[in-house]
Symmetry: C2
Subunit: 775 residues, 2 copies
Amino acid sequence: MRTGMKYFENNPWLLGEDHFETDWLGKAEAAMYLGNGYMGIRSATEESYVGEKRDTFVAGTFNKFDANEVTELPNVPDMIGMEIRLNQQRLDLTKGIVTNYQRNLDLKTGELLRSFVWEYQEIKAAFTFKRFVSFEQKHLLGQQIEIKNLGANIELEIVSGIDGQVSNSGSQHFTEGDKALAEGKYMQMMPYTSQSNIFFVLSTVHKIAKERDIYEETKKRIEMGRRKIYNRYWLDLAENQTVTIEKISSIHTSIDKETASKTLEEVKEIALTELKEATETGYQKLFEASKAAWDKKVWSVLPISIESKKFKDQLALNFAKYHLHIMTPAHDERMNIAAKGLSGEGYKGHTFWDTEIFMLPYFTFTHPEIAKSLVTYRYLGLEGAHKKAQINGYEGAQFPWEAAWPDDGETTPVWGAADIITGKPTKIWSGFIEQHITSDVAFGIKQYLDVTGDQEFAKEKGYEVILDTAKFWASRLEWQEDKQRYEILEVVGPDEYKEHVDNNSFTNYTAHWNITLAINLYERLQQEEPELFEKLNQKLALERVYAEWQDKVDKIYLPQPNQEGVLPQDDKYLSKKIIDLTEYKNSPHVGTLFHDYNLEQVNDMQVTKQADVLLLLFLFENLFPKKEKLINWNYYEPKTLHDSSLSLSTHAILAADLGKLDLSYDLFNQAMNIDMGENMTSSNEGIHAASIGGIWQMTVLGYGGVRCLNGKLRIEPHLPEAWSKLSFGIVWQGNPLEIQVTKEQFSVRNLGVQEVSFEAFGNNYSVSTEETIIF
Amino acid sequence: MRTGMKYFENNPWLLGEDHFETDWLGKAEAAMYLGNGYMGIRSATEESYVGEKRDTFVAGTFNKFDANEVTELPNVPDMIGMEIRLNQQRLDLTKGIVTNYQRNLDLKTGELLRSFVWEYQEIKAAFTFKRFVSFEQKHLLGQQIEIKNLGANIELEIVSGIDGQVSNSGSQHFTEGDKALAEGKYMQMMPYTSQSNIFFVLSTVHKIAKERDIYEETKKRIEMGRRKIYNRYWLDLAENQTVTIEKISSIHTSIDKETASKTLEEVKEIALTELKEATETGYQKLFEASKAAWDKKVWSVLPISIESKKFKDQLALNFAKYHLHIMTPAHDERMNIAAKGLSGEGYKGHTFWDTEIFMLPYFTFTHPEIAKSLVTYRYLGLEGAHKKAQINGYEGAQFPWEAAWPDDGETTPVWGAADIITGKPTKIWSGFIEQHITSDVAFGIKQYLDVTGDQEFAKEKGYEVILDTAKFWASRLEWQEDKQRYEILEVVGPDEYKEHVDNNSFTNYTAHWNITLAINLYERLQQEEPELFEKLNQKLALERVYAEWQDKVDKIYLPQPNQEGVLPQDDKYLSKKIIDLTEYKNSPHVGTLFHDYNLEQVNDMQVTKQADVLLLLFLFENLFPKKEKLINWNYYEPKTLHDSSLSLSTHAILAADLGKLDLSYDLFNQAMNIDMGENMTSSNEGIHAASIGGIWQMTVLGYGGVRCLNGKLRIEPHLPEAWSKLSFGIVWQGNPLEIQVTKEQFSVRNLGVQEVSFEAFGNNYSVSTEETIIF
């Protein structure tokens, strides 16, 4: 595979590109995007190229383009782009000679650096571009550009400001907005979203300093166009002279909590004051503060270190943590993580089950305060979940397959691209029948409660969600008179290559688990917390619902393994045709099966998009004996195309559990490379958040062997051959634990104040300071 | 000035470019755009470049982006663009070596041709791109691309279809719209405008034929994305092998008259049937039919030929006629000509006074049926004009400064870009106080009636507009008790560098003319057409209004020349500061005065943007003796920056009238080059429709000396030194006249059935066959 990626054997913090090609723009834009959970900015280059995708997103600012569409995160006016001309020639790396090219993202500091020497006609100049999104002041971003003239005198022209002509692939979410200029240099633009009526205040300013005549006033002119305000600067650059351009910008919106009650005019003033201070402070100091915030909030917290034969493994963990933090709106519990983080238009900024199953565990185990914000989002989503249940004729909380603002309810688009054969648009069924999301939400909350022991959240919010979701499931079950059992018909399970299936094992088992959990909770609350019980009873009619749970729970059909020990994915899967998948499994692209078959045909084959039965075996490992897991692995993995980025990490963990460490490590490598790897186009629509969460999960849950089972901590590490040592940390019920694993032993150091119990390889341990276990 | 333009000494039909540069994209896009009055498509290249403006407009399909904006012509999904890859390398003329480059618009046939040889890495291929918008079937456009492989075998990939991601500089007017595919190749997209709810049906199909194996099926795949549907084709091209790609496309909308009652589904079927037939017919035959329509409808009608020392003069006339016809929605009287034609987003597709004063005369004198459609548009606009008058507290018909759909009323944006000093948006006053538009409309209609003698239009529509506009003026006049006269205060005249002036001569004189015209019409109708009179009296309360006219008309203040003979532009103009304008007059750019002064300062100087007093002297030439005209020329021209494209042609005609033929010819050259000339960036926002109308006016009204004065034809030719012969034609009251002018004589040949009288140099002539007049 041709690639432009560059990795640094001696620096596990740098992700780079050593070659510029316009067909590869999306890779760096997404895999190296910058953000802080408040905003995310794709790392498009300052100068423009055909094929670029110039996106800035602010978490939570959902807007609906028109009545026929679902709400999505709008692409915010761009402040990164600049036109740079040397002797009237637009800087354009597809022209002339480019040497010493590099573009690196420093994961540790969040700074993106690009530098090169450009020679074109009579021009020769060295460029260095730096930028960061502040991890310290969430509204701020900074850019610094240095241009050194290596040739004869050049005339430099720079056009830079705020560009509101961007859109979501043509859909414009903003009004034009007022533009304003203060003191001849502070530019502001104040657009509104068209339907949700959120105002944005975008502010920017430039500081231009020319070496050797710093006091000379740069010639400039303010210009405004449609949806644009910018300054045009002209300056002469003598041979060997360097100019430094600092651009400091900020974004504020009317949904920012800290200015929630302010008018646009007031926020505009606040932003202006902040910008004046920031530009006074300057790029370097703002950046240092941001870097320090990264250290304090992320890197110094339970660091992970891997001693591996392959230097990229450590890089992958750094990459994952970097992305997990920039994608997560930790500042506001009304927001959650999008399937593409804040890195692209894909999936419209919506939240899926990906959060609970793939990203939440990282926060639950290492940043409980952020996890709390994420689970609170689901509590706030109850209103939308009730809406959805009612529309579908059910009770309780049916969580939306795709979620946006908490009370939006279901936001999955109803119609997808037209069918190639019929020419008619195809219906997207996920929003209607991909129902396991509801138990996934309960699962995420239960795990949060168990791992953190957060009683306050449990009582105020968590229990309610568990009970309300179980209420949904009770109403969802369908009685089969002939079989005298409850079934769940007509669903899509995790394997989305099978639509309209009956009794998908994953769905049935998790629904059963959810109801069982609610029954136990009901009984415990009734006894131990009568006041809370009464409150919840009032709200949810629990007594009636409890009777229903009691009546139904044991009659829920839980598919059982067949004679060979294979747990059927659904009622019909095992009777479908088996085809040779070698070609598709070996393809570097996903979805290639559809070049030969349509969805209807794929529905009739034993082909699985992503972990389905195997995910069940991983998440509920105590339900199934190891032997059965092995049988099912051997059955399902060969039929699984891993066409979803959610698939590989689950398989890697399960393979590790099953002792297939070489295979697991191979899957680990594939999984970690989904975004970080050498494929230059696979991240175009945005990074794969679940896959990135999976990198941490493979490491800590897989090789670290950490699990929360029935409310108890279990640690059963097993390192892949290439790794000699793994150090990581988790917080168990408020107690930070440092865990070091080698091939011979592992140790658990408790930095907390309470003794922590855990199970390992069949034994129970309690650790108050440090415990070492030899394999 | 650096330029890429190419002109052909031996071919006055070709306008070309011999050099490709991405900074010059706008030039060919606008000056060489294609259209047929129904649609206009900027001539953006098939492959994409940074800085391109890819616009398609369909006349009349106005939409309002949001409540704070005015209605504008939306940019329709693009069907011209294609991605072309050779051995995976995107065709990109900024890379590699380009030889034999040419891009020419054939004005006679409306075909745009681009060809070149591209060498890049191991690739060498010859490309020929042709396209046209059908002048015969208004919904159709065709493209033909030939690629000949001049190197070793190459793998060709073509991505082409319908791209709805385009917008008006970021403002999206369309819903996403359904996409459909018929028979695996006919692609359709059906978006709606967001506010005016007009549906569009865009349809396209490809036919790919490879030399030497025409029967081989091209490998292809249909793909759909957001706002996109396209086919991806792959084929191998052997050495010296040629592939031909034909793409035939069409546009239909719900405002098309011929399908006005049809549903979207029905129009979609009609479009599909038409497309199937068209693709069967094929590019070449469709093109031949379009070319024949150009001949029949335009080139064979009253042709203009110039024998000049400068070959570009003939080209300019061909260029002007080409553009006048593609910009004009002759098919639908609910539509009019936009200030930029259908060539760009500038002025939002709106109609200004430009139509009546600069473009309508061409149609009135040569294509009366099209002129009729244009004046009918104003009649249909009465509703909007009443609305505007009422809002402003006046009576009658106050025409909007900017007009869109007839009943929209005023569509001038209220706010412009922010003031550089205050940072606040500046108010655009034209919509409020640039009021001469109302008499301009009456002027256009009067001229139409006089030149064509169209009694039917006069009785059904024209008289009503003349009376209704006079009614407005009567209500608009302001009595000045101290001066015992009516004045018109607080206006903007044609010179927009003076806002809020009192008694702008152009405005006062034309208002007076409009009322006088109405008085005369009233009296004649009362006597000669009692039935019509009564109808109009009922509708407009004419008797009451007539009394008012009678009372006021002689008390209207008509500014008089001062002692030096200078007619003041307004009350204060002559007392303002005079500054040295040399620098600004010599600048190749317009508006450079504003680099040094703001509008407030300019308001206080004797600086004129465009013909104001001089325009009055041209349009109402009988009102002023020649000596006075000369004095005013000498006074105003040096103070006029010609910063509007409306200015030069008026000056050229007036200079010719005044016997300043060398100066006139110099102005003619400047005027004709506004779009056709060598400035590569001045047409970026679109062509200058008034300037293009001016090319015809300079020739026929200026050098041909044709005028309609007090309802009578006058012909007083005077050729510039460089011209030895000018032949042209007009239709006078239904009688086509062929006029040939040389330096010694001119002849008038009457091809009509009635004798035509005209005046020339003080003598009256009547011609039934031919008359020759020796100077």
